[in-house]
């Protein structure tokens, strides 16, 4: 059952990911990506990371992709305005990506021999657990992330607003 | 301490020149160089002939890398230091003061880079050169070596002729390439020096002695590398065929004072390097490949002489003759005999003095007639007795007539080469004949014959010019007549080096 679910979700994720890349219309790409995200969220739930799954949906599907969609609509990019790269570039891109894939898969095929994990002790994906770790062990990165956000915010506002002169 | 003073004094004086106005610059610079000369003379007077490195100043500079600020003088060093301190005042004096009308392309067209900068460069250069000749630390040597390049490059760039951008670049690139090779070789040898555990964790040493030892301990293959790296570096500087292509252009294009510095002193850096660094550091390499180097040098002699004969431009002619002379020195040094090395030392000094004289002659010619092409000139002897005489003496020195300084050197060199290989000596000996050919032909065309429109207005030497040429002539003759002190001073040092090579 779990395995079937895994295969289904994987298939969905890969298919939609491919469609993201191949689809001409940006809006469709966004929607495919959202579906991919849902598939990945499904994987999270399979992996017992429910909290992460929810956060994933909220952040990615709920905020980031909406932002994408928002920008696409704001800029009115629904026209398939993309004139095509010449075939050399495309071919090169496909070959490069494909090579990377082949290399990665080839390299990581060896991981099939990894031993099975020890039986899990507790539910690490639970909020309480994650919170403990986040606010004890990873307190500094958490605080530092605020710096990141601050600068991103300042930057985005600076770039986004029109000069008033 | 005197060594340190010798090194530091010119640069401090140079700074003073830099801040003083254009009018005062030459005066200050000249007096500084005279003082410097006096200091070196004092050093000479204190010099003990049989001692090893004297006037040592040794201070840790970069302890973590075992680099010391170690300067000292032995016989070889002090001679070259003297050469420097003697020539620099002459060179400074030889520069026309700014009130003189500017020669075409001879002065920087920019008014802002003034005379002060020029003299600063010269003094800076002097300082670096003395540093090169006295440093007893491989790294320090390299630093001074490079340091000497910068002022001369700027002199060529700022006060050079029409095509200076390209030519100075070529010059710089060549010498830098050589010196980088040298650096690699030095570092390589340095890494072979034993770790001295005394000063912190594992510090090696750049000290000349340890470099000698480390170099000698290397395998013959490694030494071959070291040998070639160093040889190419020095060969470029001298220059030895086939690394010479930068030289004629640069000599022609640089302002005369720059050419004097280049040929009179800077060239000696290369030959000095051969003696001081190459021979002791890679003895096996020298034994294996010295032959090749020698052949190169002799090929260079012939090649340069032949080319010199075909030159129309007198300045270019002297440039090629310089290659020929240096080739001879190099060949003599690689003969690894006492005579060869001694002759090399002697010839270094002689060539330095002569070539400065010759270039000054060219400068005089050029300033008066605006050309240095031999066919255009002629008949100058008829109107300028002083000039003709002094020119003749310098020329004689250059073609190594007996009783001039050139003779002593060339004789010793040829002697050394002969001991090494008679056939080579035969070829090397051609230099004397060929030298006489091109020199005298040049003199004949320029000075003798009919006075033409260009030369008719040729005035005789001014006081300043005499003040430059007369000391040169005196030196030429003095050293030719009585070379013993020079040879005496050099001998112990030369012997020491030879001892390292043939233990």
């Amino acid at each position: 059952m779990t395995l079937h679910l895994f295969y289904f979700l994987s298939f969905l994720a890969i298919l939609c990911a491919l469609m993201v890349v191949l689809e001409k219309n940006p809006v469709h790409s966004v929607l495919y990506l959202v579906v991919t995200f849902f598939a990945i969220a499904g994987h999270y739930i399979l992996l017992n990371a429910q909290f992460l799954a929810a956060v994933h949906i909220i952040v990615y599907a709920g905020a980031i992709m909406v932002l994408f969609l928002f920008v696409i609509m704001l800029l009115n990019l629904n026209k398939e305005s993309e004139f095509h790269k010449n075939n050399y570039v495309k071919g090169a891109a496909v070959i490069a990506g494909g090579l990377l894939l082949v290399i990665l898969v080839g390299a990581l095929k060896g991981t099939a021999s990894l031993p099975a994990p020890e039986a899990s002790v507790g539910e690490i994906g639970l909020v309480e657990n994650l919170g403990q770790v986040l606010f004890k062990q990873f307190l500094l990165p958490f605080e530092i992330a605020s710096l990141l956000f601050l600068s991103a915010m300042v930057g985005a506002v600076m770039l986004g607003k029109r000069d008033t002169k | 301490m005197i060594t340190l003073l010798l090194i530091l004094f010119p640069i401090l004086a140079g700074l003073l020149v830099l801040v003083s106005g254009n009018a005062l610059a030459k005066k200050i610079a000249f007096s500084a160089s005279i003082i410097e000369l006096a200091i070196s003379a004092f050093a000479l007077s204190q010099f003990r002939i049989n001692d090893t490195a004297q006037f040592m100043c040794n201070a840790p500079w970069i302890p973590s890398l075992g680099i010391h600020f170690k300067v000292a003088m032995d016989g070889i060093s002090i001679l070259l230091v003297l050469l420097t301190t003697v020539l620099v005042p002459l060179i400074i004096l030889s520069r026309p003061s700014p009130t003189l009308p500017e020669g075409k392309g001879a002065l920087s067209p920019s008014g802002r880079v003034g005379e002060g900068s020029f003299y600063f460069m010269v003094l800076f250069m002097q300082s670096a050169l003395i540093g090169v000749f006295t440093s007893m630390d491989g790294f320090l040597f390299y630093i001074f070596w490079e340091l000497a390049l910068i002022p001369i490059w700027f002199i060529c760039l700022l006060w050079g002729g029409e095509d200076r951008a390209r030519i100075t670049f070529k010059f710089f690139a060549y010498t830098l390439a050589g010196s980088l090779l040298m650096l690699v070789a030095l570092v390589y040898v340095y890494l072979q020096t034993p770790l001295s555990l005394g000063e912190g964790p594992g510090v090696r040493s750049f000290d000349i002695q340890s470099l000698y030892e480390a170099g000698a301990s290397l395998s013959s293959a490694e030494q071959t590398w070291i040998f070639w790296a160093l040889f190419i570096a020095f060969a470029i500087k001298m220059p030895v065929f086939p690394f010479h292509t930068w030289q004629p252009d640069t000599y022609t294009n640089a302002p005369t004072q720059g050419t004097m510095l280049l040929s009179g002193i800077m060239l000696k850096m290369g030959t000095y390097g051969l003696i001081r660094w190459l021979l002791p550091m890679a003895p096996l390499g020298v034994q294996e490949w010295g032959n090749t180097a020698m052949i190169l040098s002799i090929v260079g002699i012939l090649y340069a002489s032949v080319i010199a004969i075909m030159q129309k431009d007198f300045k270019r002619l002297i440039a090629y003759s310089s290659i020929a002379h240096v080739g001879l020195i190099s060949a003599g040094i690689f003969s690894l005999t006492v005579q060869g090395l001694q002759g090399g030392m002697m010839q270094m000094l002689a060539h330095g003095i002569n070539v400065v004289g010759l270039f000054f002659v060219v400068d005089i010619l050029f300033n008066r007639t605006n050309t240095s092409e031999i066919p255009k000139l002629g008949g100058i002897r008829n109107i300028t007795p002083w000039f003709a005489t002094l020119f003749m003496v310098v020329l004689l020195g250059s073609v190594a007539l007996p009783l001039t300084n050139g003779f002593v050197g060339e004789f010793l060199l040829l002697n050394g080469i002969y001991q090494y290989d008679a056939g080579m000596a035969a070829f090397a000996g051609l230099t004397v004949i060929l030298g006489a050919v091109y020199m005298f032909r040049g003199y004949q065309k320029i000075m003798l014959g009919e006075t033409n429109s260009l030369t008719s207005a040729f005035t005789d030497l001014t006081f300043n010019e005499k003040a430059v040429l007369i000391p040169i002539v005196i030196l030429i003759i003095a050293m030719g007549v009585y070379p013993k002190p020079v040879l005496d001073i050099a001998e112990p040092a030369v012997m020491r080096i030879l001892n390292i090579i043939h233990p």
Binding site: V27, V55, A61, V66, L69, M73 | -
Partner: protein
């Protein structure tokens, strides 16, 4: 296990049905309340007091001609309202409609799924809800629709932040993300609204904005955008959008009631009735009373306050509610620290 699944299916269906029913009658209520607030009577022809009006509306919706604009993207055009409907129906799953009922010794919870991150689930689903509007508005290929969609998305993103932050303060006091537990904790009159008045205020304002209700109904404001994102929609697809809005309103009311007003807890009722089943049912009824009140509030506000201007909307969201929510968190933290709840 088997019975559990069957029971849960039944419960889910029931919730589904009730939700639809309430949404249906919300349309009726909206019109009635609007009428009453405006000294009118409202629909009263279909059935007694117009009680059958929603049915008539439904029939009308189904009967109307279906129109899909020629140049629009047909799949997305249909997908839009479907997503809107789907997401709003999904939210009902985590709300505890009452405590548990015991039948034949088995305890049956009146909550479809008590997942431990219920609040996040709610936030996630509502955040996905915006796709319905955006896709619909975009696929209509109509500038009014597009404007409405853009407004909707920016508005929803903006207010989601305030909402999330206000909930965080609540989570701090309750210490759990499970809605069932939050409801249970408010037993005995300890309603969260007393502890989180500011949070409640922020939450309710954000809830208004999230459901696109007046005064935040910019995405569809009829006077400027001719209906906004659903300008091009007709028949049942329009019905879906409208329905979705009412369902959202219902769920929002339910969430407000549950999070801040004790959910199914009725204070003091325990003194009079002991039977747990009866208590559960009364609790549920009480919960629905609260929900109805909030639905009423939604409508009441709609007919009281004028619509915001777009910049006012953004100002309120970013410069008003967001700092307030953060302030609220800070205050909550400080108070909790002083009262020794955290150390």
């Amino acid at each position: 296990m088997q019975t559990e699944i069957i029971y849960k299916s039944i419960l889910a269906l029931a919730v589904f049905g009730i939700t639809l029913f309430i949404a249906m009658y919300s349309t009726y209520a909206e019109r009635k309340i609007a009428a009453f607030l405006q000294d009118r009577l409202g629909p009263n022809r279909a059935g007694p007091f117009g009680i059958l009006q929603p049915l008539a509306d439904g029939v009308k919706m189904f009967m109307k001609e279906e129109m899909i604009p020629e140049v629009s993207n047909k799949f997305l055009f249909i997908l839009g309202p479907s997503i809107a409907m789907l997401t709003c129906l999904m939210t009902g799953a985590v709300i505890p409609w009452g405590s548990s009922i015991t039948i034949a010794g088995n305890e049956y919870s009146l909550q479809v799924a008590d997942i431990n991150i219920g609040i996040l689930y709610l936030l996630g689903v509502t955040s996905v809800g915006v796709y319905g509007i955006m896709i619909g508005g975009w696929a209509s290929n109509n500038k009014f629709s597009l404007l409405g969609a853009i407004r909707a998305s920016s508005q929803m993103i903006s207010y989601e932040i305030g909402m999330g932050l206000s909930i965080i303060a609540l989570i701090m006091t309750t210490g759990t993300l499970s809605i069932g537990e939050i409801a249970a904790q408010q037993h005995g009159g300890h309603w969260n609204v007393f502890y989180q008045p500011l949070g409640f205020l922020i939450f309710i304002v954000c809830a208004f904005a999230e459901t696109n209700r007046a005064p935040f109904d910019l995405p569809e404001c009829e006077s400027e955008l001719v209906g906004g994102y659903h300008t091009e929609y007709s028949s049942m697809k329009l019905g879906f959008y409208l329905f979705a809005e009412y369902i959202n309103m219902f769920i929002s009311s339910a969430v407000i009631a549950t999070l801040y007003f004790g959910g199914y807890n009725m204070p003091f009722i325990g003194r009079f009735i002991q039977d747990p089943n009866a208590l559960a049912i009364i609790g549920s009824v009480f919960l629905f009373c609260k929900i109805f009140f909030f639905i009423f509030l939604f409508m009441w506000v709609r007919w009281t306050l004028p619509r915001f201007r777009y910049d006012q909307l953004m100002n309120l969201g970013w410069k008003g509610l967001l700092p307030l929510a953060i302030l609220n968190i800070a205050i909550t933290g400080i108070v909790m620290w002083f009262t020794g709840k955290i150390n």
